[in-house]
């Protein structure tokens, strides 16, 4: 499916592409279109996945500036424990 002509549909369409496209499958990315910019937020598992999401959005939305604000998950060991009665 081609990039939507109406910019109002672009955010939703990009979200679906990032979720459904075979080499991406990132369902946790929020896409917001503002003016000529596409803002991407969310958390992915690796730096490569973050870059892939940004590159794919740029490829799918030519003419828009892609602001890739996606972060990479931290897998540090926890320091605190919650005690539950």
């Amino acid at each position: 499916m081609n990039t939507p002509v109406q910019p109002e549909y672009l955010g939703g369409w990009l979200s679906e592409r990032l979720a459904e496209d075979d080499d991406v499958h990132e369902l946790g990315i929020t896409v917001r279109v503002a003016g000529d910019a596409v803002f991407l937020t969310g958390v992915v598992s690796t730096e490569e996945r973050r870059d892939l999401v940004g590159a794919r959005a740029a490829e799918l939305a030519p003419g828009y500036r892609v602001r890739n604000e996606v972060t990479v998950a931290s897998y540090a060991a926890p320091e605190e424990q919650e005690s539950l009665a």
Binding site: V43, T46, A77, Q81, E82
Partner: protein, 254 residues
Amino acid sequence: MIRIAAVGDIHVGEDSRGRLRPGFASLRENADVLLLAGDLTRCGSPSEAQVLVEELDGAGVPVVAVLGNHDHHAARVKELTSVLRTGGVTVLEGASTVVEVDGCRVGIAGTKGFGGGFAGASGSDFGEPEMKAFVGHTKALAQRLHDSLASLDTDYRVALLHYAPVPDTLAGERLEIFPFLGSYLLAEAIDSAGCDLVLHGHAHGGTEKGVTAGGVHVRNVAQPVIRQAYARYCLGADSISSATSRTMSGAAAP
């Protein structure tokens, strides 16, 4: 007392090798059991599950898991589950298992769960076959969760889910997608059967802490929410001590 480590939505892919193992290395010191709240893999392929098994190798504690929607994507659930079980992971769906630590027995009832929404704003088992199938799936899993919890005669009972049972832990997510993130039918089953702690994932943009209408602690352990290798919870004591004896029993669904 039992110390529980929990995380969901780790979305292991072929490129995840070596990324989780350092965080899991502290499990033996910090916990008596590791519970995985679904979305173990990125696309549900058995090869991704094998990467997870390798990352868990040497964790030194029993590992109990439910699957999530990502684990169903490739439609290879049986193969994926087989890889996990061969790797020592107990996979639950409408079933339970018991972990015993120094005489303290905790029962874990697990299901993926499903969506539908929350009381007053939920889908109904009515209309098109697709809608009936959607809500009917949640109803069936909630009933099996209830039955699994009710069958446990242990010191503590934990419900392990992927989808959320309450809206509390969805705070931060857009209201419009709540029906795709969980269902109150799961909470109703939990409150009806009795439970000490509910763990779920799926809601990456949600918050960690919530409670059912019946007063059961609910924790959203989706990795993007807890932002660490796993979260730590202790049932039955205020302090940490070293557990030395762990056994598992019970039956997982095939």
